[in-house]
């Protein structure tokens, strides 16, 4: 079953001679429990697609479904963006983007609170333990290593049992070993949390982790890149 489906997405900026078509007829399906990579050079439209799927910057045209729910129709949002984010989405960023004045636990706990989890503290500690950073629960973000920060960020993204996790270059600030460890965590998230994980990455050394690879170029998903990991 698809956790995320997008059809014929279009996104353009400017007009006339300055028109930039960031997304051109992009369609994508991501099944629950799968990890999908978005590859491509800078400016290809990967981040624009993630922003569209995360309802951060809506497409000008096309449709998006979260599960069976149509949430964007012809560039128009059909429900409360806050509700949709709380119920369906989790984000992981290039840098961990942890709130600097909250401890690791509080960073996860605040996401649980916003999502309306009944026992946010317990849920936060469970997630940190599951991602093997429970021992750093009381630490402030600036005392955590880059890998630990990303684990806490992933825990935060999972706070409200999202069906879709969107990660924008989550290993860009990490070395090879830590980067691979984080990518493996995404697979763990997909398998054990039954979430659809979409990862924008430049790191070709970790492609074996993904179930599907999609390559973007000039705002289009390249048909030649629709190869599964099994085919590699």
């Amino acid at each position: 079953m698809d956790a995320l489906r997008a059809e014929h997405l279009e996104k353009h900026y400017g007009q006339g001679d300055t028109l930039v078509r960031a997304l051109q007829d992009v369609s994508l399906r991501v099944a629950r429990g799968s990890v999908v990579a978005l590859l491509g050079p800078s400016g290809a439209g990967k981040s624009t697609l993630v922003k569209a799927l995360g309802l951060v910057s809506l497409p000008n045209a096309g449709r998006i479904w979260f599960g069976d729910q149509l949430v964007v129709d012809n560039g128009r949002l059909l429900a409360s963006v806050q509700e949709l984010r709380r119920a369906h989405l989790g984000f992981v960023f290039q840098r961990s983007n942890l709130v600097p004045f909250l401890t690791a636990r509080q960073n996860v706990e605040i996401a649980c609170e916003i999502g309306g989890t009944s026992n946010p503290k317990k849920r936060a500690l469970e997630l940190l333990d599951w991602l093997e950073v429970g021992h750093r629960a009381s630490s402030m973000p600036d005392t955590l290593s880059g890998g630990e920060q990303q684990r806490v960020a992933i825990a935060r993204a999972l706070a409200n049992h999202p069906k879709i996790v969107l990660a924008d270059e989550p290993t860009a600030a990490l070395d090879k070993v830590r980067g691979r460890a984080v990518m493996e965590l995404f697979r763990k998230v997909a398998r054990e949390q039954d979430a659809a994980v979409v990862v924008v990455t430049h790191d070709h050394r970790t492609l074996d982790i993904f179930d599907e690879l999609h390559e973007m170029e000039d705002g289009r998903l390249s048909p030649t890149a629709l190869a599964t990991v099994a085919a590699h």
Partner: protein
């Protein structure tokens, strides 16, 4: 989870520094309010302290505080003779500055109509009322005098026999009470030659009157400063204080109002005259300062809160991506603005309690003032947070996705 509290705790040094800055501004606002109340209290305390019903002053004036009033002392006897008048007292008032113990002493000198009025109505903290017709004074402790101190003024020695506390004139100067005769001596404080010449002129004038010709023995009295021969020009008094039976106050006032040479005011009217005349401009000036300070405080808190919100722009974007409601984000900014205001105000009150008693002018801090300014602080903080809240609500969540 209270994000405002956690953020403040994380940046405690900056929060305390900001609160201290705000506290100093609020302390000045409090001082302005307190000085104003002190001004009002000082202006009216003398009127309240002498405890009388009516003030008779020179016709057409608003004396003796807001305006100069000169009355012939004989009016005291005229008033005392009226029906329903229980007591009539002469009253003089003059602000003076003299040297004492090597320093400049500025005070308001009030003449009491001894022996009718010995200062018993004054709230003495030490000593006793005046019992001698000459040479004794009651002084306010703010002048730095103590019981037994002697003032050498106008070749007279005036000994402090009683002390009051915070009994000040509208200008903030401490009050000294003396007998009317001594007060007039001090007020006139003329050189010896001039006094001798004046005595001679008095004697000469006395000789030219029927009274002087009929009673030559009166000449011996012309050297007495308290001498009040009706035919002679004697030192004027400022007002006559009239104590009447309360039920007959209106009737007595109506009668006095008919006199061609006097005007009459109730004590309440006298207080209002002081407030309108003496305190009005300082009051407006203080109010203007207070308004400027309130606006400055609002701008300062607004700027600080806005900068704090700008610093958190990225965090706010992340919270928005999590689905944080506008209420939570707006609440974060508002709570921090209120925290700065409340903590700053707490420090301001503490500063005020410690520092205000050492101010040269009296600063009166009442519970109503403290609570009223606190309400103002809450309003200022709320208004000051608006810019920060607007910024927080406008933050584009896409900024969280930027590296």
């Amino acid at each position: 989870m209270n994000l405002a509290y956690l953020d403040v705790r994380h940046r405690l040094g900056r929060f305390i520094g900001t609160s201290l800055g705000v506290a100093l501004l609020f302390a000045v606002v409090l001082a302005m309010a307190g000085i104003y109340l002190g001004l009002v209290d000082d202006a009216t305390i003398l009127v309240r302290s002498v405890r009388t019903n009516l003030w008779v002053v020179q016709q057409g004036t608003r004396g003796p505080f807001a305006d100069m009033s000169r009355l012939d002392p004989s009016i005291v006897a005229r008033v005392a003779a009226m029906p329903s008048v229980k007591r009539a007292r002469a009253f003089t008032y003059q602000v003076m500055q003299r040297e004492h113990a090597g320093r400049s002493l500025r005070f308001a000198l009030v003449g009491l109509d001894f022996p009718v009025d010995r200062g018993e109505a004054l709230a003495l903290t030490h000593g006793r009322p005046i019992v001698q017709p000459h040479g004794e004074i009651i002084a306010d402790a703010s002048l730095g005098l103590v019981i037994g101190d002697t003032l050498h003024v106008a070749r007279e020695e005036l000994r402090v026999v009683g002390l009051t506390k915070q009994l000040l004139a509208s200008g903030g100067d401490g009050l000294i009470f003396a007998t009317v005769a001594d007060a007039q001596l001090l007020a006139e404080d003329t050189p010896s030659d001039a006094i001798r010449a004046e005595r001679e002129r008095r004697t000469e004038r006395l000789r030219q009157t029927d009274l002087g010709r009929a009673q030559p023995a009166l000449e011996a009295l012309t050297g007495d400063p308290d001498f009040r021969a009706p035919a002679l020009a004697s030192s004027p008094i400022a007002a006559v204080l009239v104590d009447v039976e309360p039920a007959r106050a209106d009737a007595v006032m109506a009668s006095l109002a008919q006199w061609p040479d006097t005007s009459v005011f109730t004590s309440a009217e006298q207080e209002q005259l002081l407030l309108d005349g003496v305190v009005d401009k300082p009051r407006k000036q203080l109010a203007l300062f207070a308004v400027i300070l309130v606006v400055t405080s609002s701008l300062l808190i607004g700027a600080v809160v806005y900068m704090m919100t700008l610093d958190k722009t990225h965090d706010i974007a992340v919270l928005k991506l999590m689905g944080a409601s506008p209420w939570r984000l707006g609440g974060l900014v508002l709570q921090q603005a209120l925290a700065i205001g409340v903590v700053g105000y707490g420090i301001a009150v503490a500063i005020g309690v410690q520092a205000f008693p050492h101010f040269p002018r009296r600063v009166v801090l009442t519970e109503d003032t403290v609570m009223g300014v606190f309400a103002l602080v809450l309003t200022i903080s709320t208004v000051a947070s608006i810019l920060g809240i607007v910024h927080a609500l406008r933050v584009d969540p896409a900024r969280a996705l930027e590296g």
